[in-house]
């Protein structure tokens, strides 16, 4: 600009600004343009950021950590099944006393069994230790975890005990000071240093009176300490606690102690009911046990005091066996009768099993480590049996009438009653009489809902879950020690394929998706042909007279009427007046089980159809108006009738525009809630719609209902349902757009 030659004024009295004034004037105009541009950018930013905020909100609620408390531990149920199998295998001796087991194997050349490695060390002249999967248990393989059956040994106590029983408190301090140097003499291995430090820290927290910082440690001399200490529990831990208690006495403890080997479960039960100061356990405490403890005012504290490498032993006369694999162990303790069934090289003699009893943590550990079952993978028979032992017969009968478990056998109901019930006329017969029997998966789901009853007690949003993972873990552990923390995607395959449920954990949107699809199908079927037809009449045929102008104005106004009013219209016309038609009664299509009156899919579809009809008409008119008149003239000038001209030339040209308008209108209908509430969408429905005369619910209705529930988890599934709704909208739109583009390229 600056190096431009000044344009000489042609006349002194030009009516335009010149020179400096021209420059200023142009600059001013540029500035105006810039201001507008900034304004538009700001508008765009506002639009984008509100969309992002919306999306963020939805995603934030759809994923994140949850704390789940199971009424019954599913792993426990699965282990029960396996343990029952192991215990019921022929030639199996079981005892809570590991000495008995060790003696049994020592006197039986075909004996095999398992227990804490300390018991092997004590009897290593008569017993033979087996390698598992090629690894021998020893301090190294236990510390590295290379030996597959390595497990921690625990001592449980409670704040209340440590505060009230000084003898017990000081014993624990003594134990933590000395266990690492003593443990090898018993035959076990030290805990990891992290577990050891955590145990010390826990003891320090229970003794705030000492005024020690975390990381510091103190060892207290038990000199002259009086009182009584009672330890109950695992036979595996027993030798270790016994040894430590004796050492404690030697170090100056002047009181008494009792130590009983009754099994981990029994020990924990005794401790939780206040009968003991410590529970020794060869497995972690379970959620149900924590619950029982807390109910007695005992908040269990966990101390890992050592590590065991579960020993698999045989009689030392047994020259054939030196090592076993996990698979072989599975056979040895359940299915196999003789050794050579497991391995051809082994003797053809009957296997004699010596195993810990049902109360023992060792059996639990063995079952879990060797059989590695999960509840979901158990066969249907086992699941049905678990269900039968864990629910009342009455409930079982109800479930069986809903859907039976086996084609030809009854589980809960007696055959006579069943035949009587199923002889009833078609309408009153329970669904179980005809429905296919439940599959393994369905029984599993039932077990989950009826027995395990997972309860989400706390949810964290996605942002929190990603940023504050450790804080969440500590908080959850403190608030819900028996809770299980998992990352939950509320949007899952199950969520999409499951029907509605009153428990958010089990609720899905399948019924609502089908409902939405059906309703939209009816909506399009009704509004598209009528809307486009009306638009063609108004645009192509209607004379410009007063009647048509009034019609046009009314249609434009209808587009702005609040949707709830369409709902009231739909209720009055489709549900009430046309009930015979919309309930399907005229066609004999009434579903006997659920009389929907007129509150059916077809009523909803027609109502939404009315709602979007003005939009479709107006959009289609717009599209028709955009078709150049020269096209109509061209057709007519060839001797075409007006209809031929419209059908062959005007409509194809307008179709992309008409479809675009229809897509927008239908998108609106998919998201409508208010009119459907008025028309009478079902609030709770688990049966998929089977046709236009079914009761229904739709995704937005479902979302609306979930958001109005007080429990937090409903907000999460509502958010997940919103994602489903958005995905459905996007895919419907995308397919409509693809269709439209294909059409408009084909007609060239």
């Amino acid at each position: 600009m600056d190096n431009m030659q000044p344009i000489p004024n042609q006349s002194e009295t030009t009516p335009f600004p010149e020179g400096e004034a021209l420059k200023n004037q142009i600059q001013w105009r540029h500035r105006q343009g810039l201001a507008w541009r900034l304004l538009f950018i700001a508008a765009l930013l506002i639009a984008i950021s509100s969309l992002i905020a919306l999306l963020y909100n939805i995603l934030n609620d759809s994923f994140g950590y949850v704390v789940v408390i199971n009424k019954v531990d599913p792993q426990r149920l699965a282990l029960d099944v396996v343990e029952e199998q192991i215990l019921n295998t022929a030639n199996t001796v079981s005892s809570e006393d590991d000495f008995e087991l060790a003696n049994g194997i020592a006197n039986d050349s075909n004996g095999i069994g398992f227990f804490g490695i300390a018991y092997y060390q004590e009897n290593n002249e008569t017993l033979k230790l087996l390698a598992v999967d090629g690894v021998m248990p020893n301090a190294e393989t236990a510390a590295s975890g290379e030996y597959p059956f390595t497990r921690p040994l625990y001592l449980y106590t409670a704040d209340a005990v440590l505060q009230n029983n000084q003898a017990a408190n000081i014993f624990l301090n003594y134990l933590l000071n000395n266990v690492n140097s003593e443990i090898e003499t018993v035959g076990y291995f030290p805990a990891t240093s992290a577990a050891y430090a955590a145990a010390q820290q826990r003891w320090l927290s229970a003794n705030p009176g000492l005024g020690l910082q975390s990381g510091q440690w103190v060892s207290i001399e038990p000199d002259g300490m009086a009182g009584t200490i009672r330890v109950v529990g695992s036979s595996t831990v027993f030798p270790l606690t016994q040894h430590m208690l004796e050492q404690y006495q030697e170090a100056g403890f002047a009181g008494n102690f009792g130590n009983e080997s009754v099994g981990s479960s029994a020990g924990l039960a005794a401790f939780c009911s206040g009968q003991a100061d410590f529970a020794a356990s060869s497995r972690p405490i379970q959620s149900g046990e924590i619950e029982a403890c807390r109910n007695n005012g005992r908040f269990p504290l966990e101390f890992q005091i050592g590590t065991d490498a579960l020993a698999i032993v045989v009689n030392n006369q047994n020259s054939a066996l030196n090592e076993v694999s996990t698979e072989q162990l599975q056979q040895i303790f359940t299915t196999a009768t003789t050794w050579n069934e497991v391995n051809e090289a082994w003797p053809a003699q009957a296997i004699q099993r010596y195993i810990p009893g049902a109360d023992s943590g060792t059996l639990d550990f063995f079952a879990e480590a060797v059989y590695q079952t999960s509840l979901a993978s158990l066969p249907k028979d086992d699941l049905v049996r678990l269900l039968a032992t864990n629910i009342s017969t009455g409930r079982g009968r109800a479930l069986e009438r809903e859907q039976r478990f086996y084609e030809s056998a009854l589980v809960f109901e007696d055959p006579a009653t069943w035949n009587e019930v199923c002889a009833a006329p078609a309408g009153e017969r329970p669904s179980g009489c005809i429905a296919e029997p439940r599959t393994q998966e369905e029984v599993y789901d039932l077990l989950l809902a009826e027995v395990i009853q997972p309860d989400v007690v706390k949810v964290y949003n996605l942002q929190n879950s990603l940023l504050n993972r450790t804080a969440i873990a500590t908080e959850a552990a403190a608030l819900y020690p028996n809770g299980e923390i998992t990352f939950r995607s509320w949007l899952s395959a199950d969520f999409i394929t499951d029907p509605q449920s009153s428990t958010p954990e089990f609720a899905g949107v399948r019924t609502a998706i089908f409902g939405s699809l059906w309703v939209i199908f009816i909506t399009i079927l009704f509004s598209f042909p009528i809307g486009v037809g009306a638009a063609i009449y108004l645009e192509e045929y209607a004379a410009d007279n007063r009647l048509n102008r009034i019609l046009q104005t009314n249609i434009n106004n209808l587009a702005g009427v609040p949707s709830i009013i369409y709902g009231m219209l739909g209720l009055a016309i489709f549900v009430r007046v046309l009930e015979q038609l919309t309930s399907g009664a005229i066609f004999g299509a009434v579903e006997s089980t659920a009389s929907a009156n007129g509150r059916t899919i077809i009523s909803a579809g027609l109502t939404l159809g009315l709602l979007i009809l003005p939009l479709i008409i107006i959009n289609a008119q717009e599209a028709l108006r955009a078709v150049p008149n020269s096209l109509r003239q061209a057709g007519l000038a060839l001797g075409a009738t007006q209809w031929q001209t419209i059908w062959y030339h005007v409509l194809p040209s307008a179709l992309p525009g008409i479809l675009t308008g229809t897509i927008l209108a239908v998108s609106r209908a998919i998201g409508e809630t208010a009119p459907l509430v008025v028309v009478g969408a079902s609030t709770f429905i688990t049966v998929d719609p089977s046709g236009p005369f079914s009761k229904f619910t739709t995704l937005p209705i479902q979302i609306y209902q979930w958001t109005s529930r007080p429990q937090a988890e409903f907000r999460n599934i509502a958010a997940a349902a919103i994602i489903v709704l958005l995905a459905m909208l996007l895919s419907l739109n995308a397919s409509a757009i693809i269709l439209r583009n294909r059409y408009s390229t084909r007609s060239i």
Partner: protein, 263 residues
């Protein structure tokens, strides 16, 4: 002075009698009396807005598309008035085709552009042959024979206009109306269309509106000169053999117009 409205030899293809055309209450043309000679080219000339297009559209009832338009008087075609109530405009347009100022092919293939009119009018013969023949007559065949399945819009403006002509002659009309068919085209394309029109007059009666006096002088056999009055209603000033009208105009206005002194 009464304008000359007759020609020496040959028959009349269509005739306007006492014709008035109104748009609402506005009379656009008045008292038109005009006989169009069969298988000749008749040019309609006159200043802009004098009603040439209005008159032309009256001949095949294209004015029906304008809601406010109303035609009084008669247009006689094969002895009957095309504005009689029992006459179907569809049939009239089938016989009297039209080519517009701006090329307006259908958004279909070149082949379909030509075939469609014939098909809807119940053509029973060999369609491929008809399409080829029409395109040949429109002097377009050589240029499009390899791309018949491409869109009509893929052609140049001049080609599009020839396609529109091919489309029109495919339904075998008697008369072809052309409203300034070359005004949107360049000089070369214009010349090609003019040559084409000369060919077409062997088979068809052609009425062409043009504001280009050279074109009228070059390409037409007869010329009708329109003008408008103070009330802006157009009227026919003079009709004659083109040679005669341009060399020896009877009316002073005609002379003024063709010598470029107004218009």
């Amino acid at each position: 002075m009464k304008p000359n409205t007759s020609f020496s030899n040959g028959s009349v293809a269509v005739e306007a009698k006492e014709m008035q055309v109104y748009y609402g209450s506005f009379r656009a043309v008045k008292d038109i009396a005009l006989k169009i000679p069969t298988k000749h080219i008749t040019a309609l000339i006159g200043p802009s807005g004098c009603g040439k297009s209005t008159v032309l559209r009256s001949f095949n009832r294209m004015n029906d598309l304008v809601a406010s338009a109303r035609v009084e008087g008669q247009i006689l075609y094969h002895g009957s008035n095309i504005y009689d109530t029992h006459v179907d405009p569809v049939e009239i347009r089938r016989r009297i085709g039209m080519v517009f100022q701006k090329p307006n092919p259908f958004s279909k293939t070149i082949y379909e552009n030509v075939a469609w009119g014939a098909r809807i009018n119940g053509f029973k013969g060999n369609m491929d042959q008809l399409v080829e023949e029409s395109l040949r007559q429109a002097a377009l065949w050589d240029e499009v024979k390899d791309k018949l399945s491409q869109s009509g819009y893929s052609l140049s403006g001049g080609q599009q206009q020839r396609l529109c002509i091919a489309r029109t002659i495919a339904v075998k009309p008697e008369i072809i109306l052309m409203d300034e068919p070359t005004s949107a085209l360049d000089p070369v394309a214009t010349l090609r269309i003019e040559e084409l029109i000369q060919e077409l007059k062997k088979q068809y009666t052609i009425i062409i509106v043009t504001h280009n006096m050279q074109q009228a002088a070059r390409a037409s056999d007869y010329t009708a000169f329109f003008n408008m009055d103070g009330d802006r209603a157009g009227y026919l000033v003079e009709f004659d053999n083109t040679n005669e009208l341009f060399t020896n105009p009877k009316n002073e206005l005609t002379e003024q117009y063709i010598t470029g002194r107004f218009g």
